[in-house]
Point group: C2
Chain length 597, copies 2
């Protein structure tokens, strides 16, 4: 298993030097988020991740969760680690102090979650899902609900889930069959079966708070008739603690390709007592509140696992001796050269590095926007909301596609050893693979981006971002070292708009043009977005080198990686542009029978 | 698990209509390989694959091979299936009748192996490795060795292995440490430990014939001191059957990401009795005899698993109801439309179909070349050898890269269900992943193609293929329906040569340019090669339609898929060209320390 070390230097580069989180924190009046405090949290957090949960990653994959007659047992050590997590107050980091939280900025929580995900993604699902449920309760719950549930979840004494999918519907939630019947006491009786419920049943907490999408018997058809309910595994007793068992049970757990330490459950509701949260028939809207956050988190799964894979591959590449460099022996005293001398191995490592660091920059930019959602002025809040709405599907899909590529490169660097489970490299591929599927498949993200966000706003949300890029390019058009890259980015930024107009026009005649273009459009967008962030990093690196502020090797590496990104990865935009321009015709010619050949 | 049906229609399209195997068979004087006989073998072979080994694929993955104190137990049913395989005479298909074979053309054996690989790749490793060992014995063994070993392997009573890799070397075989000490009786005593030995130990045959690379104590350093030895698990007794146990033992088996039903063994030789095969110190050459065949087979792994994945994904896409078509309901009587109506799902299916059918054409073209290796004239044999030398690394790497992409698309079509093991779609990804690593990593294939084959022959081997493409384009430059595609291919064919010249020039100044360009050069080549085969298929399809020879839907689908390939996949050449042209500089800037950030 690669030994994960939190990339604190790179994290601080973004937090301190590129985005200046501290200025934002100061402006928010987040007095506790001083630079020292932030550093202390990252340091302490990294220790928890490296020392407590990372060592459980391989064993968790081998043991998997076990199911026996409704009871789910998590892999050895998971429960104890969660207790340490609770004791350390880690769940409360970004929670409102009213409900027992520390009130630190959301961005800080996201940084911590990156380290958790890199160390042990499966374990991280339990607190992760809990945070999602907490966000929904915080946004839509009554004060009473918040006191009853949120406080206990903040203490990590109770955990949470999101129950959306049923066997016959995932994407198409309008089809759900779970029914909620109003009861005399104001509660609801829920009946139905949900699948793919992460953390749906386990042995790590005293209670599990399910947030369940269901329909009232007389609800409008489709998505407009969906309501959201709190259905706890144990109903809160008179003392507020977990009391009587509710009619909620785990029917089975799934056997999966990866994230095997995460319990993926069938959860059955059999006249279970539930409580409406938010407005009747507005359940999907409530879910969408947290969807952006969850999708950003899922996008980061690509970064998290990509980072660990990179660390493993780099170590192996410097230690494994095989063949000589084509330009002559580099380690003549050894039997062969370390494989990092070979250009093709470097190509893989640099691809990994360029995606990881670029994806990290994109993630942290979004993390800052999460903070800005709580800014003082409506204008600032709206700007953050628009940028997040636009960037979220890109984060989710682009970062997971590239994350999967990165983890596959990491395996490849190991040669045949990459296929052997003990090395841990193949687990990262398997753990990453789900990220392209859940929280809305990447195809759905692409439709969300192109159809709903970009064309649905008549291009406004796109322009909100391209404007940033345009200004940045304009300001640096004469940059002494990076002029060529800025010109390249400016050209792509313009093409992005032109391509959008072209698809928009075509879609007015034929709606299938949106579906035909969506995935390539999203990937095109992702490459341009990352080019923007690579130049933001490069500009800072160049400044630091010129200022002679030390750490020159680090900044030189940033510049070299930016150079690699522009030369070897950004050209992929050409293919995605061709994909967008290819139109729907070549896709729609065949009948279903003809596909069978 | 997707229910595999051998794609006999598509196989016959290539065999009968595109490549006309029968003409070749007739010319070879392979009298038994009449069209009827070929059809009968494909029909019977497909039944064995579909009914006997396909049903063991999922269970084999779940059970894995078990190791207990040197004994390896294969998954339930594997042994019995192998007995049926032996009883059916399937191992003897393409073997020389002198050693008990049926003497059918090699190409026919390859077609059968496609069906085996699609049905149960892990099971297919046992006969597959045996065939590799048989090829080496046939090519380099003495008559006595052939009688002793080959006849029993032909009967599938004994199986074989290839023992190359050691813990510290895979690519760099010059470093091997296994020693062979000459004995008074003319045999050798072998001592050493080999890893990653597929089928190294198991319960399916009476004996296991290891072909082992080792060095004599006084052997020259590096690869020039490697010899090849036959080391049977049981030494042949006076009756020729398996007799006394040799000092060969299985130390452990690997826990792997996929092909879990295939036993991957550590094999220890402890003064084991071995017999030289071929010349002393020419062991690597002997191994390379069968390497081309093995690499072609590994390339086909991408096709095999891609085909099964496609069949599964297509079935799911026609049955799964989710959302409505953007152009209006297509199944208004159902709760939602089958997902095959969505352009983005079709994009995935067509990508799978285009790669599978293109890769199949490439494979069968090579299969024909395998036959041509035994042609009457030296000129024909040389032509086949040159084309195979050139196409083999492309088959191995391009078909496995695209096969992995295909199996990943297949999973993606299933949404979240794709991640669940019961569906069998994720197993295909895992089983495919090894193909990019073993038999020489794809990076090594790329170096072999660009460095050894293309530049090493001063471009001769490349021109051998581009000449075919050129003539074909010239002959069809005015093709009424396919003119545009022919122009596109002709342009790329020319670019291929220009790109090669450019890299060759750069490499003369700096050998790292080869390594920097190799992978992108191979992928560029692969896309052009497949474009050539897609047009060969399209031309035939167009002729058949015009001749009104029936089955128009099949031929229309070929044309539509060719159209898709040219519009949406072939543009990827742009990126790979950019990768080749990017040069080595952006790869070589960073020190090993700087990679760590």
């Amino acid at each position: 298993m690669p030994e994960y070390k939190a990339p604190l230097r790179d994290m601080r580069f973004l937090v301190d030097e590129v985005f200046d989180f501290h200025a934002g924190y100061a402006a928010m009046g987040a007095v506790d988020a001083s630079p020292d405090m932030v550093n202390a949290i990252l340091e302490e957090g990294s220790k928890f991740c490296e020392q407590v949960i990372a060592p459980l990653n391989r064993s968790g994959d081998e043991e998997e969760c076990q199911f026996d007659n409704g009871v789910v047992t998590t892999p050895k050590g998971f429960k104890e680690a969660f207790q340490q997590f609770a004791d350390g107050g880690w769940m409360s980091l970004s929670v409102d102090p009213t409900y027992g939280g520390q009130g630190l900025p959301h961005s800080l929580g996201l940084l911590f979650s990156e380290m958790i995900g890199s160390s042990n993604y499966a374990w991280g699902m339990y607190p992760g899902l809990t945070q999602g449920a907490m966000a929904a309760i915080y946004a839509h719950g009554t004060e009473e609900q918040k006191q009853a549930y949120l406080t206990r979840m903040t203490a990590a004494s109770w955990t949470g889930t999101m129950c959306l999918t049923e066997a016959h519907c995932g994407t198409d939630l309008g089809l759900i069959k779970t029914r909620a019947v109003p009861q005399a006491d104001g509660s609801y009786a829920l009946t139905g079966s949900k699948i793919f419920i992460s953390s749906g049943e386990h042995d790590m907490s005293n209670n599990i708070v399910h947030l369940v999408l269901a329909k009232l018997p007389d609800a409008p058809a489709g998505t407009k008739g969906i309501s959201l309910f709190i259905v706890p595994k144990f109903l809160p007793g008179a003392d507020g603690e977990a009391g009587e068992r509710n009619a909620v049970s785990c029917g089975s757990i799934e056997h999966k390709m990866g994230i095997k330490g995460s319990a993926t459950c069938v959860i059955n509701f059999d006249n279970a007592k539930g409580f409406l949260i938010g407005e009747l028939n507005k359940g999907l809207n409530c879910m969408f509140t947290m969807m952006n956050h969850a999708r950003l988190g899922t996008g980061m799964q690509g970064l998290c696992l990509g980072e660990t894979s990179y660390q493993g591959a780099l170590k192996y590449a410097t230690e494994r001796l095989q063949m000589r460099s084509l330009t002559g022996a580099k380690a003549p005293d050894k039997s062969a050269d370390p494989i990092i001398v070979h250009p093709d191995v470097r190509r893989m490592l640099l691809t990994m590095k360029a995606f990881n660091e670029g994806n990290r920059a994109l993630s942290y930019f979004c993390a800052q926007l999460l903070d800005q959602l709580h800014a003082d002025t409506a204008e600032q809040r709206q700007e953050a909301e628009d940028l997040l709405a636009f960037l979220t599907p890109i984060c989710k899909a682009f970062m997971t596609e590239t994350g999967l590529e990165v983890t596959n490169h990491g395996m490849q660097v190991f040669g045949g050893h990459g296929f052997i489970r003990e090395w841990g490299m193949e687990q990262l591929v398997r753990d990453c693979r789900i990220a392209l599927l859940y929280e809305g498949t990447n195809g759905i993200q692409a439709l969300d981006l192109l159809g709903r966000k970009v064309l649905g706003s008549q291009g406004k949300l796109l322009r909100g971002f391209t404007k940033l890029v345009h200004k940045f390019c304009e300001a640096n058009a004469a940059h002494p070292q990076l002029q060529a890259q800025f010109a390249q980015l400016a050209t792509l930024n313009k093409e992005w708009g032109d391509l959008t107009t072209k698809v928009g026009m075509a879609a007015m005649k034929n709606p299938d043009e949106v579906g035909a273009a969506a995935t390539d459009y999203l990937m095109f967008s992702g490459y341009v977005v990352l080019a923007y962030f690579w130049l933001r990093m490069a500009v800072v690196a160049q400044e630091k080198i010129e200022a002679g502020s030390g750490d020159a090797a680090f900044y030189q590496a940033k510049l070299a990686t930016a150079d690699f990104y522009f030369k070897r990865l950004l050209p992929r935009t050409m293919v995605h542009r061709a994909g967008v321009e290819a139109g729907s015709e070549s896709l729609m010619q065949l009948s279903a029978e003809q596909f069978a050949g």
